[in-house]
Amino acid sequence: MVGIMIAQTLSEQILSHAAGHPVRAGDVATVSVDLVMMHDSLSPSIIKVLHEELGAERVWDAQRVAVVIDHVAPASNIQTAEKQAGLRQWVRDQGITHLFDVGRGISHQVLVEEGLAQPGLVIVGSDSHSTAYGCVGAFGTGMGTTDIALAAATGRTWMRVPETVLVRAIGRFRPGVSAKDLGLRAARILRADGATYASVEWHGIDFLSIGDRMTLATLSIEIGAKAGLIPPIGPAASGLRIPDWLAVQAGADYVRTVDIDLSHLEPQVSAPHYVDNVVDLTELGRVAVDVVYLGTCTNGRYEDMAAAARILKGRKIASGVRMLVVPASSEGLRQAAEDGTLRTLLAAGATIGTPGCGACIGRHMGVLAPDEVCLFTGNRNFRGRMGSPQANIYLASPEVAAATALTGYITHPQDVLER
């Protein structure tokens, strides 16, 4: 019968809209992009491809390119300082207004805070964790230098429309368990390549904040996904500009469905050196740590600092442990300063860094030495990621990070709260 709509996944809806005609998983389509994000680390090469190889003088739309200086912020040496200076000059020459300079924070967090990421948009970023924009129901995806240069020059990109893997959460978290544990649990089940070329939709989490949704959206790339979408529904979505064509449709085609019962979920820990190497914290045994690092686009937000502060309040971190807190954004840092969260963290003995990526990719601000062990609230524990390839990185939630800072070994939050 004519006129019957075939149910679509969120990715299919957004990419159909962006292609200007209906597309289905598996189709190769050219789509218009709404926003191009580039950060300091890759911008110099993007600009080179744009001007020298593509021969484009200007970006296609100066209002729809966002530049963020977050990966080495502030600059660590003369090379990076010089490249950042060049980038600022280029931004002025191009008339780009969305420049977020040193200290404003991590690209993904900032674009969401600024309201630039909105439901239904196609956002491409020079960063694999651009899946983050799925936290508001945008199709966010990471690309390399050349693809970003092409998108910035033309306002378009080509894409294979992804199949969708559905992760359905049931129930509510127990105390001390949070979105990070759900994300790591999904990585444990789906493995690092479980959603390669696919998109992940996260259902059953309408009660989560946008920040917690971003934890899941950023972790989607760690199971190989092209995008990680959370339907823009629930109280946290009330301030978003939701297009009327965007909604979960009954009968949409999912290649795989994974159910996770939150009410039985234990704190999860990803052990070195692969993100999907996940166990229940209780199975881990005693792992002593040198550094507790709270930060990144996955878990460095105000609410992550507040969750840690609730556990650290009135207590001191263990001697011999360094706790670094690198806020995901200046806005998060401001909030933490206003309501006393920051005072609690400092009183417990934590150190605060400049909002940004910090030591997440091992370039500055807390690089690890050989044989050091780090409990990290980030998203990757690859060998050498945060510095020495002989260091060991364990991934866990902000709650586990705080509990671990208090004892000096990887600790269940309930164990310190009950003391």
Partner: protein, 167 residues
């Protein structure tokens, strides 16, 4: 002849090039050619020859979007990469740079260090042991990008993306 460099599963971009060796962090960007697998396999960069073949397990190139990972492999002249599954950003970056990636599992068929002859156009590998391996033909849009020499020359030549209908 080309040498086979064998790698395991889930080779991530931090292994191919640690973020600390990004062009952004280097004084001389041409130094990038010294660093593929600098920590994961230090004998690779000094010994790899143009045309050599990387054979790996599934999920090759997972992790970051850093195009300098496949770029470093291009700079040392890697002839092709064969893996049963590629992480998508890496695959796209390699395609854009014109590095042939074939989706096949040869980890049990070939050996690290062995000499082979690779014909990318025909998708055939001949080994010194006398084996003839046919690689699965990539989709036509991919072959078009390879033969243009990457996505930038492709776009400059045609003024459109693969498969795009322009008014």
């Amino acid at each position: 002849m080309a040498r086979v460099w064998m790698f395991g599963n889930d080779v991530n971009t931090d292994q191919i090039i640690p973020g600390r060796y990004a062009p952004y962090m280097l004084k001389n960007e041409h130094d990038l050619r010294k660093y593929p697998f600098v920590e994961a396999r230090p004998d690779f960069a000094p010994n790899v020859e143009p045309g050599d073949l990387i054979v790996a397990g599934p999920n090759f190139g997972c992790g970051s979007s850093r195009e300098y990972a496949p770029l470093a492999l291009k700079m040392v002249g890697i002839g092709a990469i064969v893996a049963p599954l590629f992480a998508r950003i890496f695959f796209r970056n390699a395609l854009n740079l014109g590095i042939p990636c074939f989706t096949a599992d040869l980890t049990q068929t070939l050996r690290d260090g062995e000499q082979v002859a690779l014909n990318v156009e025909q998708g055939v590998i001949l080994t010194e042991r006398g084996m003839r391996i046919e690689l699965p033909a990539p989709p036509s849009f991919m072959r078009e990008i390879w033969s243009a020499g990457g996505i930038v020359p492709y776009y400059r030549a045609y003024g459109r993306f693969p498969g795009e209908q322009r008014a």
